[in-house]
């Protein structure tokens, strides 16, 4: 029953949260309208979701999110430091080539985003078969280590969260 009402529960929840944020209230009214929207909008946008998100192990989020948030802040501090101190000719920018294990598209997308938001790296290209991710790194002492770091830190948890 619920499953039929909410074919895409994650999306519906998403919508509800957005709505409550927008109207800036946790009142019953807000929730009601939010739920209604949660009913309607996924239906309207159904066609545009060929494959939907399933959280296999939601609890991973609780470990992943803090890590990411922390890394974002750290990343910015680092970049800020480079921007302010490093002279251009001392920069060692490189393109990293990261073979992906994760196949789930949203996972891959999330990974790419996180990479962009975290230390000195911006993901700039998927390979044609979408199995490799090209990442530009602002200042890289050791490529292999950087790649390994990314895979352990973000790809694994994302895989756990969405696949297997």
């Amino acid at each position: 029953m619920l499953a039929r009402l909410f074919p895409n529960p994650v999306l519906s929840g998403f919508v509800l949260v957005i709505w409550m944020l927008l109207v800036d209230s946790i009142g019953a009214g807000a929730i009601l309208v939010g739920v209604i929207l949660g009913l309607i909008i996924p239906r309207l946008t159904q066609g545009f979701w060929p494959d939907r998100i399933h959280f296999r192990r939601p609890k991973v989020l609780f470990t992943l999110i803090p890590v990411v948030v922390w890394d974002i802040i750290a990343a910015n501090a680092a970049v800020a430091w480079i921007v302010l101190t490093r002279r251009n000719r001392d920069l060692r920018p490189v393109f990293l080539i990261i073979p992906l294990e994760i196949r789930e598209p949203h996972g891959a997308m999330a990974l790419a985003s996180i990479i962009t938001l975290t230390p000195g790296t911006v993901s700039v290209q998927f390979s044609a078969d979408r199995t490799t991710l090209y990442v530009h790194m602002l200042d890289c002492p050791d490529e292999t280590e950087a790649v390994e770091d990314i895979r352990t830190r973000y790809e694994r948890p994302l895989k756990e969260l969405l696949e297997c």
């Binding site: 919508v15 709505w19 009214g29 996924p42 545009f48 949203h106 997308m109």
Partner: protein
Amino acid sequence: MKLLLIVLLPLAGIVLPPVLVRAGRTASAWAAATPTALALVLLAGMAPTVFEGGVVEASWPWMPALGLNLAFFLDGFGLLFAGLILGIGLLIILYARYYLSEDDPMGRFYAMLLAFMGAMLGIVLSDNILLLVVFWELTSISSFLLIGYWRHRADARQGARMALAVTGAGGLCLLAAAILLGHVVGSYQLQAILAAGDTITASPLYLPILGLVLLGAFTKSAQVPFHFWLPHAMAAPTPVSAYLHSATMVKAGVFLIARLYPALSGTEEWFVLVTVIGLATMVFGAYGALFKDDLKGLLAYSTISHLGLITLLFGLNTQAGVIAGVFHIINHATFKASLFMSAGIIDHETGTRDIRKLGGLRHYMPVTMWLAAIAAASMAGVPLFNGFLSKEMFFTEVVVESERLGGIGWLLPVFATIGGLLSAAYSLRFVHDVFFGDETGALPRHPHEPPRYMRVPVEILILICVVVGVVPSLAISTVLATAAGGVLLQAPEPFSLALWHGFNVPLVMSVLALAGAVALYYQRDAAERWHERTFPAFTGKGCFESVLAGAIAASRRLTAWLDDGSVQRNVVLVIGTAVVMAAAGGITGGLDAGSRALTPAPLPAVAVWLMGVIATVVVALRHHDRFLALVATGVVGLLSALTFIYISAPDLALTQLSVEVVSTVLLLLALNVLPKETPHESSPGRRWRDGVLAVAGGGGIAALAYAAMTRPLDSISRYFLETSVPGGGGHNVVNVILVDFRGFDTFGEITVLGIAALCVYALIRDEAHTMASADTEARHPRMLLIGSRVMLPLLAVVTVYVFLRGHNQPGGGFIAGLIAAVAMVTQYMASGVHWTEQRLTGNYFPMIGAGLLTAGFTGLASWLFDVPFLTSTFSHVNWPVVGDFEIASAVAFDLGVFLTVVGSVVLMLSQFGKQQPPVEGR
């Protein structure tokens, strides 16, 4: 009411003949005759009142603000004319039934005839001078159609065009005169104007008014020098000529002169202008008629001449003159109509109207001969026929007048006599050349008497001629008195209509005229030769044509000079003119700043301003790199949005931002098809010129804006601000104005938007392709794909939010619609046209339609509460959980706006998206 019916019956009858002509020509004729007859009966019903000196009035407001009312009144004079129009109209309908040939579209003919009849009745009955002008122009138009009835004939078309040009121009003069009159008198009511004669003649505007009125009248009644259209109008079918040029159209001019007689006459100017023109026309027309070989041409010129005579009589400023004038109107109507119809019969039976070919017809159509002869005699002013009486009165008046004038006054009777002589001469020619003399044997057809009923109208008219001519006082004097009374606004002193006034000057003049006529007729060949020697072929038509050609050529040259086909040049001209005009206005009007206290400008504002200026200048100077120009324009847009926010216009900021992005997408899509670079081709000179123009324009606008902003403002918006919440049920006044106060404008604007979208769609439909494209990483990068899909619901929620809050906070249908459109467009960009449109639930046309209908019906709904269109009704409903929630009908309207905007914007963008870059070298 009846009065209005008299006018409306013919106009309403227009539809009948074309319909009933399927049931046969006779049926069609009946269909035309019935409304006419009915109107005549109604008129007869009112006649007694009028004969007792009463006036029938009826009035309905039409455009009271303009002082234009459907006001009619029937007095003696009106009665006379209405009688002529309807009576002779009936005869003409009967006559035309037999005159028109099988292949003439009879329904159309009768329809036009009725239209003309109605217009004429309107002229003679209307009690509002503006209304009169309206009907006046109606007669011009319907007569244009009637004269050009035989479309296939070039001369008919030309004649019609000429008539329309001349009389139409006269009509415009008349309109001007009418407005001036209303201005002087303070009312457009005709009777009021007639009563205010002294005021008018005293006013400084008298001369202009007089001039304009006379221009109107003279063009209509073909007075010299505007006579030339009349002969060419003879290309019309004879019934038309008989109707228009005996009793109605040309008489309208005379009617106007007579009608406004109380208002304008009595002055020297009136006397000189009207009399002289009348006299000139009379003599000229009569002379011209003498040498015409075409029967109808002869009659046309004689008509001109007789109209001149009538005009002259009204010019004399005497009561007797008026009576004589009115009398001659009646007589001329009768004999001239019958003459035209006889001419028509002759033409119809012999196949020619050329006097030189005709001859000896008395053997074949004796009855017609008699009829024509009597009518001609009446025209010539032979005793025992009505023409004689009015001519006698005319002569009498002239003599009296000349005695009054003294000096060169004797010229008046002399010319009068000459006129009479000539008119007698051509009458004689008309009869003798056609019916007597020996046969020329040049006739296309073997002549014989016309069908019985074709002759009846003529016979009736001739009967009138004779009766009036023999026992005038019994037959006509009451009518005449009443009609003249209508003109003079008082019952005229008793006058005697008698055949015999004893031996006096007028009688002598008549005798001279008739005798001279006979003499002249027998010397006609000599006269003809003399005529050809003295007057080279010089026709009014010639001047008219040359004037026309000149005007056309001039306008062609002007157009060619203004528009040589270069858009660039036109834009320069337009903008240049605008700048110059504005500069002139600014210099004369003054653009000095006002007293309003200035608003402080914080540092950020200055910085934003600076960036904006820089970005703008870059757009202008580096526009050859189109991408850069586009991006820089984006900056300007963003900064203007910031400005909107700062000067407290949040709604505008939101709209600006959304439109900004959709236009960017649009321009990119276009750039995809257009060249990416603009070549450097403008010469330095041109660049400098444009630069100067631009700076001038910009400076002017800046000065204007500054002046506007610094001057104190007393806006009508206080009302909106006060009534927004109580009246419109919304706190966001801008939105309330859009959907409620000025909802109708908004409705119009979204309609425009929808139309524009459809045009865009239609214009490039042929080049639009949607082929399925492989879903490669190159085409649809995953990052964007997933990202946009995450965005979609988010944008949807925001749309709902912005829409719902719109009535009370920044937002509303327009902005929500734009956001939704942006969400859609994002999908298009991420996943491609094909993929997206596969997944669309509906297409955009129903969406636009639904939007417009929703908005429209919301507006109509407010009629149910009988309040004006689009008045918002709203109420506060207390929902169980949601709490106090407001429902305004305006929200429904806003929904319409929303749908229209989404549909239109996405339709346009997707259509652009389907364009393929052109194959180079095309």
